[in-house]
Symmetry: C2
Subunit: 114 residues, 2 copies
Amino acid sequence: MQDLEKVDKVNFTKLNFSNELIPAIVQDFKNNEVLMLAYMNEESLRKTLETGTTWFWSRSRSEFWNKGATSGHYQYVKAIYVDCDEDTLLIKVEQIGAACHTGNRTCFYRNVSI
Amino acid sequence: MQDLEKVDKVNFTKLNFSNELIPAIVQDFKNNEVLMLAYMNEESLRKTLETGTTWFWSRSRSEFWNKGATSGHYQYVKAIYVDCDEDTLLIKVEQIGAACHTGNRTCFYRNVSI
């Protein structure tokens, strides 16, 4: 396990988990495709940093969710960014297989006509 | 104004605004850089579709917010995607100037060491 006290260019403890969950955007580190958005709490971020794969909090199932644990479609974390007001994460990953449960590479496979 | 009844590959009205606000990821349409995340309600999405520039709902100020209206840093909408469970938007834009109020091109200018 990493020493979380040292896991900060941004100080890890400063992240704004006041609402308990913050959105985490997951992006392909190779081509910058946005793959999905899910939610993290402080513990799921710790698990992510410990294991090098993404852990989220499932709002529908109220449980931790290690992406890929059942499908094999793990996301190996390459970099984590935090936004200016520290309430959103951007996680660059190596995506194994499909990010979306539908089998699509990305969850954003449909567009709204404009 | 566009006829919103026709604004759907995904049906516009199916978007899950049950929590009133949904996150909208804003991405540079040219290089796929993720610029920011903000929140939309149904009316701000309508305004976005009407004007071709991004409108969000400011949670801190409780008001609509047309990105760029004060800074000049407008976001011209090129495409809007919706995710598989229809509770997150991905908006590809032409970003004028900086997306972040700090003057950085992206709000995600700091990374968490891993």
